[in-house]
Amino acid sequence: MSENGYTKNEMMIAASARTLAGERICFVGVGLPNIVCNLAQRTVAPDLQLVYEAGVFGARPSRLPLSIGDPTLVSGSTAVTSMFELFAFYLQAGLIDAAFLGGAQIDRFGNLNTTVIGDYASPKVRLPGSGGACEIAIHARKVLVIMRQAQRSFVEKLHFRTSPGHSGDPEHDRMRGWFGSGPTSVVTDLATFGFDEGSGEMTLLTMHPRVTLEDVKGNMGWEPRVADDVGETPPPTDDELRIMRAELDPERVHTS
């Protein structure tokens, strides 16, 4: 808890939820994205349809789901589908407006690694792997990334590219013919980033209250592009904090 009454995670969750303003159909991931999407549905995106890769469309969870396959996602949802239908008819066919991804490593073009740290054949750390991330990165119209920022996770070179981001060549990206186009935003515990249209490169947009440019640069493995008009991320509102604490995460699993 900071002296101003909210935690770093609460700032990150609130800033991330705001990136969903006006979105309609969102693919929800494990962990933090769960609470981010549920917050967005109660604030900036009341019409948001929550889609879970487990095969649920239009979830209305009555408790914070413990995993992406929680039974509360099913009860009261619009539709339960087979996983084939979910991935083929909803995701691959382009129905998903926005999706959350994260990873152990991200590079300046928004490529993500969720597979291994170290060499694939004899890894230092074996991570979960793709799950649905590889296809989500390709098919979701907007990919939103939420990750804690550190030198070891914001890296110059990924150890493994699980999910493709921008290529660094905008002409190549246009010719791919994918619904997706690489991540559109990255929200960390320190700052928010967008991606430069010309270069596809991650660009610092706002810094959270009391965070300095040195803090941001000191926690990433490359010299980032910085927007001309870098501002301060608005802190979590009373309303956002109340919803997170009283409704979504009363046990403070994600928000402390």
Binding site: V30, G31, E53, A54, G55, V56, L66, S67, I68, G69, D70, P71, L73, V74, S75, G76, V80, T81, S82, M83, F84, F87, A88, L91, Q92, T115, Y120, S122, P123, K124, V125, R126, L127, P128, G129, S130, G131, G132, A133, C134, E135, I138, H139, F160, R161, T162, S163, P164, S167, R176, W178
Partner: protein, 304 residues
Amino acid sequence: MSKVATMADAVRELLRDGDTVAIEGFTHLICFAAGHEIIRQRRRDLTLARMTPDVIYDQMIGAGVARKLVFSWLGNPGVGSLHAVRRRIEHADPESLEIEEYSHFGMVCRYVAGASNLPFFPIRSYYESDIPSVNPNIRPMRSPFEDGTDVFVVPPLKPDLTIVHAQRATSTGDTQIWGLLGCQKEAAFAAERVIVVCEEIVDESVVRSDPNRTVIPGVVVDAVVEEPFACHPSYAQGYYDRDNAFYLEWERISKDPDALETWLKEWVYGLQNHAEYAERMAGRWDELKPGARMSGEVNYGEYA
């Protein structure tokens, strides 16, 4: 003809050492009791397939039943890592584990190809990903039609044995599931042999009253095992909730090989069957029981 069997007999008759076995269920309906029986029978050299190897495969791999793992997401969902699996992959401790990995959609389509008797299945995944570079079974292909779209194809997955859990089934194996469906149906149709484990064996009239809910017909099922609470600590929609405390506890147990061995002795090797497990867990069931939220009824129509 009735296919009802005990778990011990079903596993003894339908699983052989060296087989490829899939225990499916996406978070929901994961048949832990079947995994425990396989451990208890000390099966060896299995190839374990599953989209999301979670705690049950950590237990099985920790117990030494497997030589290979085929998967798309490896972890203790919502909690952390599978440490027994990681020890084998990262340190070959106590021995190495061969792995073959896909994305979720790739795994689903492998079962679809297997169930449909197709030689491969094309998907628009894996573009500009490193996954195909470490798995030669994911191959690029160009559409033979005019659009010339580049796709990747994955090969069929046909398990020797698929084990699925369901809320209810008849004694001949007509199986009904509600809640998350995962790829239970695809994995069952793809398999050479199928064991259905259920919370309740019901009369055929129950199934016939609601045929849209039937996911797997008895014609592809070899054995039916009635085993209440067989998914614990996973869940069965409407019957019992996920026991999250156990998933959290597994993080600690799985990190320590000695603790894992002690757990297996106490909860698997030391018990005759799942009924004993359920009996010892008796204090948990009230807490995990959900409230009622009944579905509406539909009129199928009488056309006599």
